[in-house]
Amino acid sequence: MSTDNTTPSADGSIDAAEVQALRERVDELEQSLAELDDGDDQQKMTIVATQGSFDMAYPPLILASTAAAFGWDVVVFHTFWGLDILHEEKSKELKLSAVGNPSMPMPNALAALPGMDSMATKMMQKKIDENGTATIEELIDLSLDQGVDLQACQMTIELMEYDEDDFYDGVTTGVGAATAIQHMAESDVQLLV
């Protein structure tokens, strides 16, 4: 085998000094690899939750509580309508939209009638009860219990004229996009929901 930067002597052996230099280089590389391994190996996930409908509240909470069960460090940044998931009162009144929902067994003209969103939500709630699927409140409690950092975007709190006391105990307020970006940069998994 030949390499570009070693010069075999006449009998094909490699110069002893060359071998020594290579050994030192290998040691150096091994050491810098070991230093990298010493870093924090905990997996991290950041989810940005932007939707506040009944059905869209579930995916971020299910993924967050599951990742926490894996021992991951999890941040969910709630912004715009996603903020309602953390709002103690509003989280209990999240609605499923019947209009523009291709899974609804009715045309949009019908779905737009008054009361259709409530009806669709009740139907979904019934299915959730029957299936043993957790409620949104249960998932929030579970997530907080497991150390998930549920963050409420400060700009949206002010935009929606919410009060910091409106949110579940344990929710982080006073954070903005820069905090979210910082967590995303450090994360192994980033999701926008």
């Binding site: 509580s65 926490a68 043993g132």
Partner: protein, 81 residues
């Protein structure tokens, strides 16, 4: 159901669906000591894949066995550290 494992505790998550079997398993494991074995009894067919994935991706736990019965999925998880 008989088992060849000496189970320390049994966790009943019958009737609960994703992600509850995983989250409850994790919480139950946290309360156990090293070498303890947790038996998890679930009715969620997804728990077969989920518990396996969770055990592979989580430090300090080892999946010993999974038994599929009539609509009942039983998992044996050992706490290794």
């Amino acid at each position: 159901m008989s088992s060849e494992y000496q189970t320390t505790e049994t966790l009943d998550v019958k009737g609960l669906s994703c992600p509850m079997p995983i989250v409850k398993t994790k919480q139950a494991i946290d309360d156990l000591d090293a070498d303890d074995v947790l038996e998890v009894v679930s009715t969620d067919s997804g728990s077969m894949s989920d518990i396996q994935g969770w055990a592979e991706g989580t430090d300090g736990v080892e999946l010993l066995d999974q038994v599929e019965g009539d609509d009942l999925y039983t998992h044996y998880v050992k706490k290794t550290a």
